[in-house]
């Protein structure tokens, strides 16, 4: 039976699923309920100097009838008194000694950092997460992503925290930069024991077209916020793996950004994250999603004959290479399974207008194909005759197919379009090989 228990830079938790620092970790009551339901750890909503929040605070991107594909917020750090938070941290830690309680922090001066780190540790924090990522409100005050975007400042503040801390220091990075490696290297240079990323992405989620106020509206105005949820996962996966792949960064990474299912979590782990943090999915469905997160990951590890998380962590990294190392002699072509096709013709129009014009409808004459926009029409067009449903089942000109996958991606039927390997020649050949050869010459 696989072991889901996690050790993240010395912080132990029963599983790799932590709640990210966000509204679900606002109070001890919430976090204790989450632990009861099975969450492995929680990063407390960021502590700092008192703030006042606005109303309203969240905006959502819905997609084709599904809610909250992306979520944007303009909420700030905790708006509760520091002593209340600290009291609840200590209470939570007493009741759940085996669960990880990380305290997220954001203050300004060195003295403030020393003070708040000491008090967090006294309350029982297992680790500290430095919030250098908040992209709205706090950055206007010189904190959050304002720090995360300045590697020198980030490094210095990190080094203060490391100096004062007795527990591991995790630096949470902002994605609102050109190259994630810059703040990543700075954090490591400052002595960070671990990284977490990504924080939210600077965003405007939508505009009310009647009032011309962006959302979420605060009276008659709004401001840019931080974007998260399923929509940001690809950006987060890229940044996590960039850091994980880099030889200079030898600290564990906590993966954050759109984790909604066990599969998302497994993907983060495979690309080098040592655990994951979850927020939007809990804001949408509640703490109870932990059950299928754990069950799904457990089943997956079992099916893959993996004994624990370490078997999975980083498993996909060797296969994440530069474009220049890709094999130019590898080729796939699309094959449409006529038995599964339901005749929507989406692959046909996608290939015609959006790709390489190599999917045809049966019964089409050469002239019709030309009129439709095809250029390199194969002679075999005459062999594809019409039949009943088959007159809506397209066929692929395999010689022209570049193997772009688009038809497969738009096909609404699972496993209807298969990308079949047809190597050009057996030998591998990459652009880097070509460059090397050109240099020799």
């Amino acid at each position: 039976m696989p072991d889901l228990s996690s050790d993240f830079c010395g912080i132990k938790s029963p599983n790799p699923f932590w709640l990210a620092s966000a509204p679900p970790t606002n109070t001890g009551g919430q976090i204790m309920r989450a632990f009861e339901q099975g969450w492995g750890g929680a990063v407390w909503k960021t502590l700092g100097k008192p703030i006042r929040n606005v109303s309203s605070r969240f905006g959502s991107v819905d997609f084709q009838g599904r809610r909250m594909m992306g979520l944007n917020n303009i909420e700030l750090i905790t708006d509760r008194p520091l002593d209340v938070n600290l009291r609840e941290i200590s209470e939570t830690k007493k009741r759940f000694p085996k669960h990880a309680v990380i305290v997220s922090l954001m203050v300004e001066s060195k003295e403030e950092w020393r003070d708040i780190i000491a008090r967090s540790q006294d309350a029982g924090a297992d680790g500290l997460e430095l919030n250098f990522g908040c992209p709205h409100g706090m950055c206007e005050r010189g904190m959050g992503s304002a720090v995360g975007q300045e590697p020198e400042v980030l490094k210095e503040i990190t080094s203060w925290a490391v100096e004062y801390a007795k527990v591991p220091v995790i630096v949470k990075l902002t994605p609102n930069i050109g190259d994630i490696l810059e703040p990543g290297r700075a954090a490591v240079a400052g002595g960070a024991h671990a990284l977490s990323c990504i924080n939210t992405i600077k965003s405007i989620v939508s505009v009310d077209l009647n009032t011309f106020t962006p959302n979420p509206g605060v009276g008659d105005a709004s401001t840019n916020g931080g974007y998260c949820g399923p929509a940001v996962k690809p950006i987060a996966l890229h940044m996590v793996s960039q850091l994980a792949k880099n030889g200079a960064i030898r600290v564990p990474i906590s993966g954050i950004g759109g984790v909604s299912s066990w599969r998302d979590a497994a993907e983060f782990l495979a690309l080098g994250a040592s655990n994951v943090q979850v927020c939007t999915a809990v804001m949408h469905y509640g703490f109870r999603i932990i059950e299928d997160l754990c069950a799904g990951l457990d089943n997956y590890l079992r099916d893959m004959n993996m004994t624990g998380l370490s078997d999975l962590i980083g498993k996909a990294l060797p296969q994440y290479v530069e474009w220049g190392d890709l094999d130019l002699n590898h080729r796939v072509v699309a094959k449409i399974n006529a038995d599964k096709c339901i005749g929507c013709k989406l692959c046909y129009v996608a290939c015609l207008d959006g790709s390489h014009q190599c999917i045809y409808m049966p019964g089409m004459t050469k002239e019709e194909a030309q009129k439709a926009g095809h250029e390199n029409i194969p002679e075999e067009i005459n062999e594809h005759k019409t039949s009943v449903l088959a007159n809506r089942v397209p066929w692929v000109d395999e010689h022209e197919c570049v193997g772009c996958n688009l038809c497969q991606l738009v096909c609404p039927v699972e496993d209807c379009i298969e990308m079949v390997t047809q190597r050009i020649v057996p030998e591998r050949w990459s652009w880097h090989d070509q460059v090397a050869l050109d240099c020799q010459r």
């Binding site: 009838g65 096709c341 339901i342 005749g343 929507c344 013709k345 989406l346 046909y348 129009v349 039927v413």
Partner: protein, 433 residues
């Protein structure tokens, strides 16, 4: 009206439901739903417009192809038309509920923007006038197109209620009279004149020919055919369409004394009335059909729905005799051709749904040719009859089809009439110059 006791089988979608359903649409290329719509509504486009929160655009798309898009959304047998052609039928997913989305678009957009805002601007007056005889869907479709093209349009209806079968012949769980009339009121905003209680007979049609530049015949099928059986009249015996009309239109009509009803026939009208009687609380409703159930011309999905509501189907059975005892109770004799024997049973109501008679006098007075079945012969491309100033369409030509077919036929005829009127005008201008 009695029909108002029956609930909508497919109520108006909420915005949330419409968005969820519209978002499922695959937006097929060269979509089969369009080709299976007799009026060729650009269905994927209007569904996408609903999904993208452009209700007005959706309604405009629908009405561009079908001026009776509202009632068609509710009465079309979509299961055998657009919905039946949805590619999802080839998968494990349920097909898109196109009719319900169409109703949502037109009903909500009309409410918000008004009907005229959903149509193109009317062309300037042509000075030409068209008379339409009969006020069923075919005439309203033709009249709306002609009015938009700038022609003067008058509809003559012999009854006190406009709309033909759309108001008086549709099963109440699909479309009730008040809603059919509502659509007519919207269409009337185009400046279509409606003259009710105005029967055009073989004698009076001559004056119309003189007064109007073109004539359109949309008179439908006429009265129910009755079986040639002695005593098959009197209280408790109805033609099916007449009975449906009473349920819709007669405020004093009451079925509370009816416990047992027999419906004779196997077409959609027979199934409709049987289903309605059941929904109105008649305890025992039996359909007698003289051939096998598989030979019934009614749609399978309608037969299923009627059966689920409790209608009993008896195949290979024919009504042979009806007698009344001294207490006026009806006893019928039914012949079972599979067993080759007869049985007697009591009944409170007999509805005959064995077709409708065609109206032939009017056509003959106009010099319009009929086929051997008594149907008006038209050129299918134009709707024109053998009298070159008379066009026709709908059930009096087809012998009885769907509302949506009538709408398309009205549209085709209107375009042909328009071409004729324009050529007339041009000729007149040439002559005067």
């Amino acid at each position: 009206m009695l029909e108002e006791k029956i609930h909508d089988k497919k109520p108006l979608y909420s915005k949330t439901a419409a968005r969820a359903e519209s978002s499922r649409c695959l937006f097929c290329h060269d979509a089969p739903c369009i080709t299976h719509c007799p009026t060729e509504i650009n269905i994927p486009q209007f569904i996408r417009q609903i999904a993208n929160d452009d209700i007005k655009g959706a309604a405009v798309t629908i009405l561009a192809s079908n001026k009776l898009g509202y009632s068609c959304a509710r009465v079309c047998p979509t299961e055998v038309l657009c919905v039946g052609a949805c590619v999802y039928n080839h998968s494990d997913n349920a097909p898109i509920q196109i009719g319900r989305l169409q109703r949502f678009a037109v009903e909500v957009a009309e409410e918000r923007f008004g009907f005229l805002a959903l149509l193109p601007n009317k062309r300037p007056p042509s000075g030409k006038k068209v008379a339409l005889i009969g006020s069923g869907p075919v005439s309203w479709s033709a009249a709306a197109e002609l009015a938009l093209l700038g022609h003067g349009v008058t509809i003559f209806e012999k009854k006190a209620v406009p709309g033909g079968l759309n108001s008086l012949g549709i099963a109440p769980y699909k479309l009730q009279k008040k809603d059919a009339i509502k659509e007519i009121e919207w269409l009337s905003e185009l400046g279509i004149e409606l003259r009710l209680n105005n029967e055009i007979s073989a004698n009076s049609v001559g004056s119309l020919v003189k007064e109007y530049d073109a004539l359109f015949l949309g008179v439908g099928l006429g009265e129910d055919k009755l079986l040639n059986i002695d005593d098959l009249s009197g209280p408790g015996v109805y033609g099916a369409t007449a009975l449906i009309e009473q349920i819709k239109n007669d405020a004093h009509f009451d079925l509370s004394a009816v416990k047992i009803a027999h419906v004779i026939g196997g077409g959609n009208t027979a199934i409709d009335i049987a289903h309605e009687l059941k929904l109105l609380g008649v305890e025992h409703v039996t359909m007698l059909y003289h051939r096998a159930e598989k030979d019934m011309s009614g749609y399978a999905h309608e037969i299923d729905a009627a059966r689920k509501s409790g209608v009993v189907f008896r195949e290979h059975e024919q009504l042979k005799e009806l007698v009344r005892d001294q207490n006026e109770n009806m006893h019928i004799t039914v012949f079972d051709s599979s067993e080759q024997k007869s049985y007697k049973t009591q009944t409170d109501l007999v509805a005959l749904a064995i077709g409708q008679q065609k109206i032939i006098d009017l056509a003959e007075a106009l010099g319009v040719n009929l086929d051997s079945m008594g149907r008006v012969i038209i050129d299918e491309q134009t709707g024109r009859t053998s009298n070159l100033r008379v066009w026709s369409g709908g059930d009096c030509c087809s012998g009885g089809k769907e509302v949506v077919n009538a709408v398309q036929e009205g549209k085709i005829a209107a375009l042909s009439i328009h071409e004729y009127l324009v050529s007339q005008k041009n000729d007149a201008e040439v002559a005067s110059a």
